[in-house]
Each structure stands twice: as C-alpha cells, then as structure tokens.
Subunit: 120 residues, 2 copies
Amino acid sequence: MTEAMGVTAHTLRYYEKIGLLPSIERDASGYRRYTEEDLNWLKFITKLRESNMPIRDILQYGALIKEGNHTRAARKELLQQHKEYIEQQMALLQVGLEIVNEKIMYYQEKEKGDQGLCQT
Amino acid sequence: MTEAMGVTAHTLRYYEKIGLLPSIERDASGYRRYTEEDLNWLKFITKLRESNMPIRDILQYGALIKEGNHTRAARKELLQQHKEYIEQQMALLQVGLEIVNEKIMYYQEKEKGDQGLCQT
DNA sequence: TATTGCATTAGAGTGCACTTCATCGTTTAC
DNA sequence: GTAAACGATGAAGTGCACTCTAATGCAATA
C-alpha cells in the first residue's frame, strides 16, 4: 500500500530518517499518513533521484526552501548545476550508445556472413 | 604518465586485478607496458563504464570473447541489453532535465518579478 | 480465535566501484 | 649523488544509496 510511488516502504522510511522527507503524520495506530503535499514532494525528489541527483544535494535544496525566499538564487544555482550534470551524462550515454550500436551492427554483419556460408 | 587515458593508475591496477584488463606485460624493472591492443580495449571498456555498464557485465563480455566465435550471439545479446538500459537512462534523464528546467524558469520569473518591484 | 499480512523500530549489512594507506623500488632532473 | 617523482604491492577504507534483519504490533479475513 505504502509503496505505490515507485519507492519501497523501506526507502520511504530511510528518506524520512535522513530528512529527505519531513516527519510524516501518523494515524491513531502509529501508521504513516502521507498528505498530498508529502506525495508531491516525494514525486519531485524521485524525479531528481532518477536523474541521479545526489541525496545530499536534494537535502541542501530542501534546506534552502525551509530558509525562505532569500535563498531562491542559491536554489536556482543548485538546479543549474544539476542541469549541467544531466547534460554531461546524456552526452556520455550518447557516446556509449553509438559504440554499442556499432558493435551490434558488427555482430549482425557477422551473422549475415555465417548464413551466406551455410547457404552456399 | 600511466593515467593519460582518463583513468588513474590505481584504477588501471584495479581493473587488471579483477580481470577487466588482461595481465599487462612488464619491462625489465617490473613496470607495466601497455600494448596498443591493451589501450584499445581500455578505451572501449572505459566508454562502456562511462555509459554505466556494470563491471560484471563487461567481465562477462570479455569472457565470451575469450571463448571464441560461437559466443557472438551471446555478446550481441549482452550489448543489446545494455543498449536498452542506456535508452531508459536517457529517458529518465530527459524527464529530470525537463523538471529542472521548469523550476529554473520559475526562479527566473521570480527574479524578474523582484526586479520589477524594485524599479517601481 | 487464529492466521495472514502489512505496519513499526534501530541498527547492521550489502553491493558497487573505486581509493587510500603504508611501504618499498626505480628513474629522472639538477 | 641526491631528491623528487613515479611505479610497485596487498590490504584496508570510503561513499553512496539503499536493503535487510529481527522483534514486535495492529487489522482484516476465514
């Protein structure tokens, strides 16, 4: 039930413990009740994590938000750095993709060659 | 001198130890002498690593090569799986990039707003 | 009522890919 | 000749992000 967001219950508790999520409200029997706001924040940080933003950076981003509006420039800076990181990653992946594609094509050629021999 | 390939000397020794590189020839005083072939393989696996192919998969790929031509289909399969992985990663990064861009634009709007107020 | 199954906790463990340490030998520049 | 700079070694350490364990509690179903 808890882990419908693409993260396990364990991970949710871990995030809460390290402060990536705020202290989540509990119901009468001590179970966590995530508010809409919690879920939105979770969704957001999940996307950041999926793009490999380190937890410590997300923590810092959250801390800046808590500090108030005068930290907006710093927040923007943080995101801009992550943007650059993403772009670099994509470039590296692109190179990898090209190399892998080349090799796959090479093996495909070989297959064709083999078949040619068999048919002769 | 050794680490002109974008990896440290330490990493080279580590790769050799775990079998990602073959046993490298030594000169008279025990220093490693990398052949052209070694360097080509290193270049290749570096690109695979930069696209986040796990070391264990690269090890397996190398093992398949050693086994001979009858493993070509398996090698192709391995690369195809990695290709899919890369494509998924790129998609996730793309989503992250869009979200980060949105936020950056939001902060940029805020800045403009602030400036507007100051000038009034 | 008994069982099944999800919830809770603190803390330890995992897996990956290096990275550093301590100690030693070799080469090179002055 | 000597010191800096690089190369060697095995073993231990690091950092990240979970992930699992063990023990226990609550809730819904047969």
